[in-house]
Amino acid sequence: MSRLPLHGIRVADFTWIGAGSFTTKLLADHGADVIKIESRSRMDSLRSSRPYKDGVPGINRSGYFADRNSSKRSITLNLKSEAGKDLARRLIATSDIVANNFTPGTMEKFGLGYEAVREIREDIIYIAMSMQGAAGPEHRYLGYGLTMGALTGLQFLSGLPDREPAGTGTNFSDHIPNPCHAAFAILAALRHRRQTGQGQYIDIAQTEPTIALLGPSMGDCSVNNRLPERSGNERRPLAPHGVYRCQGEDRWIAISAWRDATWAALRAVLGDPPFARSPDFDAADGRWARRHAIDDGIAAITRHWDAGDLMSALQRAGVPAGIVRTAADIVDEDPQLQHRGHWVRLTHPEMGESIYNAPPFRISESSVTPFAAAPLLGQHTDEVLTSILGLSPSDVEALRREDVLT
């Protein structure tokens, strides 16, 4: 087996909650030694967020925390104490990357702002992922995944036009745009450092990657002076394109059959129903004009189908179609994700065996996958202080007695 891509890279990881922890998970699962610096007095709030193993609360039982922190080590340091700050500085001196997603000013309060860290390690790559960036009139404003969806336009644009904005139903920016952009920026900076020996400061505003993904809509608004609107599952000028009810409780299928050929194939699979025979529907613009009638006609038939059978029949006919999978379906039923080994079960000292996401890509000749369950709070404090910082077990005990390791 070849070495993992980030073998030999150490991350002093001050991130918490969503986007930051997911970013360093990507690094950890690829072999970086990610040391999560935690504190009992200011705990990562995901540790006390549902879901919990067996529904029983506990700071080492949260699945929300676990999935975002695979393959990492955890140490607890009291950064309010001088000795705690000193240990953090010593750890940073051995690190390649320092990561945080605090509100601007927090790391400076600990004496761990970029300028201070550069004094410790000149070629450090230092990434700050605050909500709205390092400076500006709103840079100290509070935010979380859901409020970010609101700020970025994704919420306004997702949902039905005559209902309140729906968004994705998740903290979307935390899980895909921000971690991906942050990881890409870090990797680019690592490459630059390898070429030049130069580290750098990276500032990410957690609103901006998602807005960047909406570039065409921003352009539509700025150049055409048009306000893009919510359109449910419609995508102008594609018809039919939507989500249709199937047999069973809350079962649905997504179908996109707007091309002439896929429309013909859809009609055939649905049994050439009379509603679909209108010559008006032979051309794409005719289908778009009467898309509501078409959607109603399709739904009247799909409701008698099992979603899985219909997906198979449509796929055999070359029509893009997919079951609207629930979380249960995805874990238990999806043969493709199973084929790819997406779900990884890891054993955790307190949670036992639980589920983790592997990275959603495969790199040939490399076996990248989460290899260790999330750490217990402070699980690796002794190990890291002795093996990396060279402290003796009695030094560690003394620090513990002095309340430095909490």
Binding site: H30, D67, L154, P165, H181, M218, A254, V324, H339, F361
Partner: protein, 436 residues
């Protein structure tokens, strides 16, 4: 287009393959010297853009009739034309472009020559297509062992769904995100804006950089093939849904259109909506700030929200609590604008945000302070497009836009010239339809 005049210019200008990289900026680029061939459609073009914007030399390779993305709206000035597509203009800024028919041996030969000197090739063809063309990773890396090739497909290169057809909404469905979107009383509703394709493009960027760094680190190491599944990328965005099922056997459903708990959700205001998050994960430390605000604004009955019952998350989740909260907060919110509620609420340390429209975002004072939006030249219309700029700020190696998206075939002759094709040979390739 490959006319003689442009060929002559290209010969004069193109001293090396990298000649187009912006040399005018003093700051170095993080990805300078990396040569990328971007053969992709919508599931990969943002990946190529990310490389270009950090200084890689990216060539977009389109079919001779143009990338399908050129046919996607919205269009500049609403003109449905291949040079006026906003998605194309945005996702391909920073790249040079040429058009090649990869189904013809002469076109395949050109691509092999390009791949011989490339570091990364990104493609989104159906599994098997590149192999059929003799352009799969095995074939290309036999000639250039350091080549990294990133393939983005709906479900990955192998497996029971490998040959399934999918578009964005289908990948959202099978990846589980679609089920979480929408209102409790409607069908599931897909996220806006091709988020499945873009998720794949973003993970393709991360994976490609991982593979490139591996080649960089270890000179002996051969370039690898990266297999990205769009469906699998979507599953990364399910928040807690998988863990709720795994740990508590609860299947999360869509919940929009209602408060998640008292104090968390969408509220109408004078000019749109705001999102308030005064409970939930952020916990109750914001609750008191919110109640004080309401009382200071004359909503005296809000005092009841400080009673001990409101400390319990279980109570906050009841419909009684939601109704009481809404009766107090909603009439207050309706009297004020998004901007007022945002700025005043935030000054009181309450997580409250406007539900921004694209227009609000274009005029955001915070984004303006950060010079987030940039102006991008669009020659076919003579317009300047205002579009998002740097999504990350690398202080030593800044993001910057290199050039507008290429017109169809804009750099075909320039690039062929660097491969040693004479103008006459280039013209013959155009005439026979191998390139455009």
């Amino acid at each position: 287009m490959c006319d003689a005049r442009i060929s002559a210019d290209a010969n004069a200008l193109a001293t090396s393959w990298q000649s187009s990289a912006s040399a005018s900026d003093a700051a170095p680029s993080a990805l300078a010297g990396i040569r990328v061939l971007d053969l992709s459609g919508l599931a990969g073009q943002y990946c190529g853009k990310q490389f270009a914007d950090l200084g890689a030399d990216v060539i977009l390779i389109e079919p001779v009739m143009g990338s399908p993305v050129r046919r996607d709206g919205p269009f500049i000035d609403d003109r449905a034309h291949i040079e006026f597509s906003l998605p194309f203009a945005y996702f391909n800024a920073g790249k040079r472009g040429m058009a090649i028919d990869l189904d013809r041996p002469e076109g395949q030969r050109i691509l092999r020559q390009l791949a011989d000197r490339a570091d990364l090739l990104i493609e989104t063809a159906k599994p098997g297509t590149m192999k059929h063309r003799g352009l799969d990773h095995a074939a290309l890396s036999a000639r250039n062992p350091r080549l990294v090739m990133t393939s983005v497909t709906p479900f990955g290169q192998t497996g029971p769904y490998a040959n399934y057809e999918a578009e964005d909404i289908v990948a959202l469905a099978l990846g589980g995100l679609l089920y979480l979107g929408g209102y409790a009383d409607t069908s599931p509703i897909a996220a806006y804006g091709n988020q499945a394709y873009l998720a794949a493009a973003q993970f393709a960027s991360v994976a490609s950089m991982m593979a490139l760094l591996s080649v960089d680190t270890d000179r002996e190491r051969v370039g690898q093939h990266v297999d990205v599944s769009i469906q699998e990328c979507v599953t990364m965005g399910l928040e807690t849904a998988i863990q709720y099922y795994d740990l508590e056997r609860i299947v999360r459903k869509r919940t929009s259109g209602q408060q998640i708990m008292a104090g968390v959700g969408v509220f109408e205001c004078d000019d749109g909506q705001i999102y308030l998050m005064a409970g939930g994960i952020a916990s109750t430390r914001f609750w008191e700030n919110l109640v004080r605000w309401l009382m200071d604004e004359g909503v005296e009955a809000a005092g009841q929200l400080l009673e001990s019952a409101w400390e319990s998350h279980d109570y906050l989740a009841t419909s009684e609590a939601k109704a009481i909260f809404s009766d107090l907060f909603a009439p207050f919110a309706r009297k004020h604008t998004k901007a007022h509620l945002y700025q005043t609420g935030q000054s009181r340390r309450i997580p409250i945000c406007p539900i921004n429209t694209p227009r609000d975002i274009l005029t955001s004072r915070q984004l303006d302070y950060r010079n987030f939006f940039i102006s991008q030249e669009h020659a076919p219309s003579g317009r300047n497009l205002v579009v998002p700029g740097a999504p990350y700020r690398l202080e030593a190696t800044p993001w910057h836009q290199q050039r507008p998206a290429p017109r169809l075939g804009e750099h075909t002759s320039e690039i062929l010239a660097t491969l040693g094709y004479e103008p006459a040979a280039c013209a013959a390739l155009v005439k026979s339809g191998v390139v455009n």
